[in-house]
């Protein structure tokens, strides 16, 4: 039995849901030129549509999950700061695209294996790895944005995207650990390790 406040809450939520459904949006294209916020949304979506960026964040989140909520918070903060720093460096100073696919793949491979074996990586190791990874990916993103004649709005979008994705993934990882569903993280770690091993092989083959 819900009280009056509960009924009001249900009514409000239902109205919002109906309103969203009724105002059914049409197809969403990736570049919202007309709103002039397109570059920001491009940047914000970038961590999700860039496989290298996404795998980096996922791998770090998996390892942080086994270290508890404190490790997750450290990860989000250090990753955001490092990625932002890298973005600024890449966007402001690098004239051509820059990427380090093999160091990225090696780090992701090691993180994936660490996740598979449920290794509790100490903060003294995880934070520097996070900072290094964030810097690498940030510089790559910033240089790519500059090469594509992007704007600082896009850079701001990427920072926002990394922050949001990082929070969601570390939160999800911590939730799974609390629910004793660590096997999901271990399976994900193994898949990530396998993907990065293939990547390294393809790069060596050329």
């Amino acid at each position: 039995m819900i009280g009056q406040l509960g009924r009001i809450r249900v009514a409000i939520f239902s109205a919002v849901a109906v309103g969203l459904a009724a105002g059914r949006p049409g197809p969403a294209t990736a570049h919202l030129v007309s709103t002039e916020l397109g570059p920001f949304y491009d940047g914000a979506a970038h961590p999700l549509v860039s496989p290298g960026d996404l795998l980096t964040i996922v791998a770090l989140a998996i390892v942080a999950a086994f270290g508890g909520a404190a490790a997750g918070r450290r990860l989000v903060v250090s990753l955001a700061i490092a990625w932002t720093t890298g973005l600024v460096i890449g966007f402001a100073f690098l004239a051509s695209p820059f990427d380090l696919p093999i160091p990225t793949a090696v780090v992701i491979l090691l993180l994936g294996v660490a996740g598979l074996v449920r290794l509790r990586v100490p903060a003294a190791v995880l934070v520097p790895v996070t900072v290094g990874s964030g810097l690498m990916r940030g510089i790559a993103n910033g240089a790519a944005a500059r090469s594509a004649e992007g704007s600082w709005l896009a850079v701001a979008g990427v920072v926002t995207g990394v922050l949001i994705v990082g929070v969601l993934l570390t939160g999800g990882g911590a939730w799974l650990v609390r629910r004793r569903a660590e096997v999901v993280l271990r399976v994900a770690g193994s898949w990530i390790a396998a993907i990065s091993l293939l990547m390294i092989g393809w790069w060596i083959r050329g």
Binding site: I2, G6, R9, V10, F13, S14, V16, A17, L20, A21, R24, P25, G26, P27, A28, T29, A30, A45, V49, P51, G52, L55, L116, V183, R186, V187, S190, W191, A193, A194, I195, L197, L198, M199, I200, G201, W202, W203, I204, R205
Partner: protein, 195 residues
């Protein structure tokens, strides 16, 4: 729980109603190519489903360890092939994997976990050797690899899901029957590979 339902509804409705968003169509194509590749051969499908079936028969922790080791060691096999460390008789090895894993399911073999993991891993190397070098020229390697590994994992999950029928009446016999089908298929694959 009652309070969470309206919140979840609000979150889900926009997802259902939103139109299509196409951010990066090219990379999606590479992912799909990788996703489709492991299902391009019956011998691969049979072996990967057999891993899931066998894991389901062996229960915890094999039910997740075997399907975890297979993609990982398969990737190692692919890596070795990519750096020109190929093994001989790859097609025979793949065919034999269907025979061995099918037989394991049919006979409900229950070796120690380490032995089961080793068996799965040995055969996974052959599968990786066969598949790992087949990257279409116009596809992104990373995205292709992601699709490839995810597809392999999903095939194992299919085998595990099929293996859960062992909880039903006549379920264990049905699972063993599936193992027999895979074994028969494996023998056919060996025959084809030897011809």
């Amino acid at each position: 729980m009652r309070r969470r339902v309206p919140c979840l509804t609000v979150l889900l409705v926009p997802l259902v109603c939103a139109g299509s968003a196409f951010a990066h169509g090219g990379e999606a194509g590479g992912f799909v190519t990788g996703l489709v590749h492991p299902v391009s051969g019956l011998d691969h499908i049979a072996a990967m489903i057999a891993v899931g079936l066998w894991g389901a028969q062996l229960r915890q922790p094999a039910i997740w360890i075997l399907p975890v080791m297979f993609p990982l060691v398969m990737a190692l096999g692919a890596f070795l092939a990519l750096v020109d460390l190929g093994l001989p008789g790859v097609e025979i090895g793949i065919a034999l994997s269907a025979v061995a894993l099918g037989a394991a399911v049919l006979l409900e073999a229950r070796p120690p976990l380490a032995v089961a993991t080793l068996v799965v891993s040995v055969f996974a190397v052959f599968h990786g050797q066969a598949h790992g070098t087949e990257l279409p020229g116009d596809q992104d390697a990373l995205v292709y690899s992601m699709g490839f590994v995810v597809s392999t994992g999903l095939l194992h999950a299919t085998g595990i899901a099929l293996g859960t029928v062992r909880h039903l009446a006549h379920g264990p016999a049905a699972v063993r029957g599936l193992g027999g089908v895979i074994l028969a298929g494996g023998l056919a694959f060996v025959w084809t590979a030897l011809k």
